[in-house]
């Protein structure tokens, strides 16, 4: 076996045999699963408490309608005899003979004493139908917990519905008729119709949110995770080897370049294994839910190419930093710009997702350090980018990866034998030219 492959195999086994790797592989689906379960649970179970709302109804006509609406709301928040939402309990406040300021102060005190969650004042002229809306019509909702918007939203809608119904009635218009006439028009988003070879025309398919958003994003994040799970480990491994002089023993058996490339092959294999596990798992889930067509086979090929490019590019940078530094602390500051380069495409991903054909998306996806993530994203979406753009991006990224590996090899060769203060940029450039 070639010595480079011996290094690659050892690097791969060392990383894969660690408990952290095995736990990491298992933990990811568990964390994702738990977060979904938590979100569902939180959405249905988080708020099942009673909220008492005092209503100062200065119209004198709306309270009963609101109380009925509250009962209806409370009944809808029960599933199989269990409460799944909050209960809004209304209490009528008689404002007769009390000054507004005095009444508001008294009710505020009751809120502070937790007898009430809040109170609302419905102005008397809310039922009037003036030509234009005025501030006098506004409901005033008082609370100590303004971040809780479920109650304020509900009372706004409930009063709004009651007021609208009354206004329609006053205008001799049937509210049910209005509801029927103003029902919204629905839109179905479809793909394009295909003209088949035999002259027939196949029906357009409904677009699938899974294929449009979930799969592209999931692939980009998987690529990011696969790179992050292995490439940065090169940095610590190289520093450790350098400090313990293992590297000096190794390069008495193998050239520094062979050693570095062996290491890169090792971590690329780790990334590939990780990605394979999740891809197979993800495709199994898609297949079992009848959505396997959401992921095109060609996409897996692109994913593999971009994974290799990303690992080679970022891995070689991590190797170079590791060999140039004499301890982990020194390497942290040099790591930061690289981590930013890695994360930037993820930040730009939503922009590309919204307008994949825009100039900014095209340019961003052709920048070599962003290409693996952003071009993959564009390729996973419809319509895919023109083939020439995809090929150009691969050529640019592969070219950059080769330059990075070459430059890292030069730095690695010199850096491995250096101790003490880490080099500055001009020194690194000198090492590359040496």
């Amino acid at each position: 076996m070639s010595r480079m492959l011996i290094v690659a195999r050892t690097e791969f086994l060392t990383l894969v045999r660690t408990k952290a790797f095995i736990i990491g592989i298992l933990a990811m689906p568990v964390i994702v699963g738990l977060s979904i379960v938590f979100q569902i649970f939180a959405a249905t179970h988080a708020d099942t408490s009673d909220h008492t709302l005092a209503v100062v109804d200065r119209t004198g006509a709306l309270y009963d309608t609101l109380a009925a609406a509250a009962d209806e709301h409370n009944a809808s928040g029960v599933s199989n005899g269990k409460r799944t939402g909050p209960r809004f309990l209304l209490t009528r406040v008689d404002a007769a003979g009390r000054s507004p300021a005095e009444l508001e102060a008294t009710l505020s005190d009751r809120v502070r004493r937790r007898e009430l969650f809040g109170f609302v004042e419905i102005p008397a002229n809310v039922l009037a139908s003036p030509a234009g809306a005025s501030d006098d019509e506004q409901l005033a909702y008082y609370t100590e917990t303004p971040s809780y918007t479920a109650l304020s939203d509900w009372i706004r809608d409930a009063v709004g519905a009651a007021v609208t119904a009354r206004r329609l009635k006053a205008a001799n218009v049937d509210p049910d008729l209005v509801k029927t006439l103003t029902r919204p028009t629905r839109v179905t988003t479809l793909g394009l119709v295909q003209r088949n070879a035999d002259g027939t025309i196949s029906e357009a398919k409904r677009t699938d949110a899974l294929q449009t958003f979930v799969v592209p994003f999931a692939l980009v994040y998987l690529l990011f995770l696969s790179v992050m799970a292995s490439a940065p480990q090169l940095l610590t491994a190289v520093i450790e080897e350098k400090l313990s002089r293992i590297s000096e023993v190794l390069i008495s058996s193998i050239t520094p370049f062979q050693l570095m490339v062996g290491k890169l092959i090792g971590v690329a294999s780790v990334s590939a294994l990780l990605a394979l596990v999740y891809l197979v798992g993800g495709m199994y889930v898609l297949a079992s839910t009848g959505h396997l067509s959401a992921i095109q086979p060609a996409l897996i090929g692109w994913f593999a190419v971009f994974l290799l490019c990303a690992v080679l590019m970022f891995g070689s940078v991590f190797v170079a930093i590791g060999s140039a530094c004499s301890d982990i602390k020194d390497s942290q500051s040099m790591m930061q710009p690289i981590m930013i380069l890695l994360v930037l495409p993820l930040i730009a991903a939503p922009v590309v997702l919204r307008a994949p054909g825009s100039t900014i998306a095209v340019v961003a996806s052709l920048i070599p350090t962003a290409t693996p993530f952003l071009m993959l994203l564009r390729l996973a979406m419809t319509p895919p980018p023109p083939l020439w753009q995809a090929c150009l991006s691969v050529a640019l990224t592969l070219g950059t990866a080769v330059v990075f590996v070459w430059a890292a090899g030069r730095i690695f060769r010199v850096g491995l034998l250096m101790q003490g203060k880490p080099p500055n940029l001009p020194e690194l450039l000198r090492w590359i030219r040496q």
Partner: protein, 308 residues
């Protein structure tokens, strides 16, 4: 046959000469002591021999060939700072190092079993390196250096930090390897061990060769013509004896610095009194080392503007 041949080798770093015009022949099958103060150019020389660094000038041959792969597969190197992969087992580490030297797994497994048994580490073959004691790790690293049966061994302070039992075990192993034809370059600051173990010694100082020869040759070259004598007459008898330059009285005996031939001095002394002991004092390697490497007033001077 010559194991290592350096001809006029020079290496500079940032305009500073690390090794200057160094020529050296290490005979095959010998134990060659490599001594010199820190920063004198030892490590640079070793790295050039292993083809980790290229010389700026001059030529280096190992077993008659330029020190490039595959010749360096014949070199085993134990650096002074010890390190092994902590999370690997002893077997995995030894296989890895051996395979990188181009040895087959079957050969390696036999050699691993034999070496571990010899150094009482057989029970630890599948233990992770991080569970071993410091001495055990050091022995594993020694095995990693010799596992691929190199013809040339370069050992940098192989015994430092070892207890006497383990140090003896490694020293015996080194001697056995030499008996089997392995050439050993032994870099050390421990002059007593170097005197005991090495067939020849080489000292590098400020990048230049300052000593090269057998211990006897070096001692003869650096002898200060001092005789230790114990006589019936004591120190007083030496007062007006011809050929005496200086006398240091150490009580029962006297160290006499001679200005002439020791044999004539002995004859004159014996004619005058009963001589119980007469020994021509040889300088120890330690003495020679200190004599060469002792800082001069120039070395100790604070550079202008460098003081506080």
């Amino acid at each position: 046959m010559t194991a290592i041949e350096l001809r006029d080798v020079t290496k500079q770093f940032d305009n500073q000469i690390a090794v200057g015009a160094l020529s050296l022949d290490v005979p095959a099958g010998s134990i060659y002591g490599f001594i010199g103060p820190n920063g004198s150019g030892k490590t640079t020389t070793i790295r050039m021999v292993m083809d980790i660094l290229a010389p700026d000038r001059g030529s280096i041959q190992v077993f008659g060939k330029p020190s490039r792969s595959p010749v360096r597969d014949d070199i085993g190197y134990l650096p002074e700072e010890r390190g092994l992969y902590k999370r690997m087992t002893v077997r995995q580490v030894l296989r890895y190092y051996g395979q990188l030297k181009g040895r087959s797994l079957a050969d390696l497994d036999r050699a691993i079993a034999s070496w571990l048994d010899r150094l009482q580490l057989g029970a630890y073959v599948d233990k992770k390196v991080q569970t071993l004691s410091k001495g055990m790790s050091q022995k594993v690293q020694f095995i990693a250096t010799v596992i691929a049966k190199p013809r040339l061994l370069i050992l940098d302070e192989p015994f430092s930090g070892l207890d006497p039992v383990n140090a003896d075990a490694l020293r015996d192993a080194v001697l056995d390897l030499r008996r089997d034809g392995t050439t050993v370059v032994f870099s050390t600051h421990d002059m007593a061990t170097a005197e005991r173990l090495c067939d020849r010694l080489f000292m590098i100082f400020k990048g230049r060769k300052v000593l090269d020869g057998t211990l006897d040759e070096i001692q003869a070259a650096h002898s200060q013509n001092v005789a230790r004598v114990r006589t019936a007459g004591g120190a007083a008898i030496l007062d007006d004896l011809p050929g005496v330059a200086r006398v240091v009285d150490t009580g029962n005996a006297q160290d006499v610095e001679l200005s002439g031939d020791p044999q004539q001095f002995l004859a004159a002394l014996a004619a005058r009194t009963a001589v119980y002991q007469f020994e021509l004092k040889k300088p120890s390697l330690h003495d020679v080392f200190v004599q060469i490497a002792r800082p001069t007033a120039e070395d100790l001077a604070v550079p202008a503007g460098g003081g506080r």
